[in-house]
Amino acid sequence: METKLDTNSIKKKLLFSPVYFLISITIFLNLSCSNDVNSITVLSAASMADVMNEIIIEFEKDQERNVYISYAGSQFLAQQLLIGSPGDLILSAGESPIKFLLERDIVETETVNLLSNHLVLITRPDFFKGNISSLSLLSDNKIKYVAIADPRLAPAGVYAKESLTNLNLWGSLSDKILTTPDVRAAMLAVTTGAAQAAIVYHTDAITLPSIEIFDIIPQESYKEIKYILAINNSSSKKILANEFVSFLQTKSTENIFRKHGFEMYK
């Protein structure tokens, strides 16, 4: 009698293994449904998330089609494509990730220069009291630290360093430079008072209401800041990907980009 009871309880417990089996089956059944033809996956620079989310709502509005966007740093996205992630399209902030992909024959050679951006100087409101016209003011004793993104980690830092070097300020300011992991952290350094000024992208600067923006950095002093689109060579949905690329260049989309501070690339 005792043994019989035991066998019963074992049988009950063994029932769990079909449960696990069912779970794995469900996962794979789900797989086959998730592959819809009318959808593309876009790998996009993380700094574009706000504007891109707004744009895909417009793109999906009038037709049955989906755009899934995965956000991360551009160089990271390029690595993902190289390893074999199923992204159909990449929107990179900066040229080097695209160069990296072109060299390895991962993306189609016809790329699209979509947007441009420029650097600005930010401070806390009323820090300078009135207008300033030149970056040489950064040498002022009032300024203890100037925050920029780390040139080794973020393209924004590369541009900022390049500009300061070409304006012959990098050497004299070197003790004042505070590097941060990214542009957002450089802005945070200003708002928290850790730095008195920062050099950041115009598009990032306008998202903060509590800072003053000085558009005084000469655009000739650094390389063009480009946002580039490229289509994955192994994409199976190039038609839809191309449709999305065209959509990104229409007048109505342009207005959304402008609202977020981007300029269309000329």
Binding site: L31, N35, Q80, G84, G87, R184
Partner: protein
């Protein structure tokens, strides 16, 4: 507030934990029965995801299950779909990364069982499978429960392997940690803070349950 990262996190971590549980129990049992030498080999393999940087694990998973990888091609032929950049990828990443912690707890529970109980059961005529379910599992119960909780919490916190293998797609693969990362990048500190509070709440409850299982009140049955 967008709820989908929370649902997605609970879903992927829950399934990851369910998939890991029988494997971890089996591995724990196996290790407790093996000789010291074989044991250390298996333990090293099991613990690997714990010591490797998560990014490396994500890289390996994407390499294998990606468009050009062996697993990716196989699944693509069988089911005509990709699993990289889906919630399934997020589940796999969470499962791989949380397995060592769950297994660790179960292994120590199984190893601390006095072998004589199992031997007595055998001499009284119980089949090995009966011994396993009526002696071994009940005696290791506390370690198994604790393993479930640590594993689940680790799965919830998974970031590095997930963002590489599953991407960071809102509603599809963006779990709580990835959502916090994205909101921080965009300067939406309030949204990031809310999500951080939610993860903290889940973590605190889990630690409470974990402690309760490890040191149960005297009259409890566990």
């Amino acid at each position: 507030m967008d709820l989908s990262p929370i649902n997605l996190s609970l879903l992927t971590s829950g399934i990851a934990t369910l998939i890991n549980l029988p494997i971890a129990v089996l591995v724990g049992w196996l290790i407790s029965k093996l000789s010291l030498k074989t044991k250390s080999i298996i333990e090293t393999i099991v613990m690997l995801p714990l010591v490797l940087p998560p990014v490396v694990v994500g890289f390996a998973l994407l390499k294998f299950f990606g468009m050009h990888g062996f697993g990716g091609k196989l699944i693509s032929n069988l089911f005509s779909t990709d699993i990289a950049f889906t919630w399934i990828a997020a589940t796999i990443a969470a499962a791989v990364m949380s397995f060592p912690l769950m297994a660790r707890s179960i292994i120590s529970a199984m190893e601390s069982i006095d072998n004589r109980f199992e031997q007595v059961a055998r001499t009284l005529g119980a089949k090995p499978i009966q011994v396993f379910f009526t002696i071994t599992i009940p005696l290791a119960k506390r370690g198994i429960f604790a393993g479930i909780i640590v594993g689940f919490v680790r799965a919830l916190g998974e970031f590095g392997a997930t963002i590489i293998f599953a991407g960071n797609i809102d509603g599809k693969s963006q779990t709580i940690p990835l959502a916090i990362f994205t909101e921080m990048q965009l300067g939406h500190t309030n949204n990031a803070g809310q999500l951080a509070l939610i993860s903290a709440a889940i973590a605190i409850v889990s630690i409470f349950i974990y402690n309760w299982i490890s040191n149960p009140p005297k009259d409890s049955k566990i």
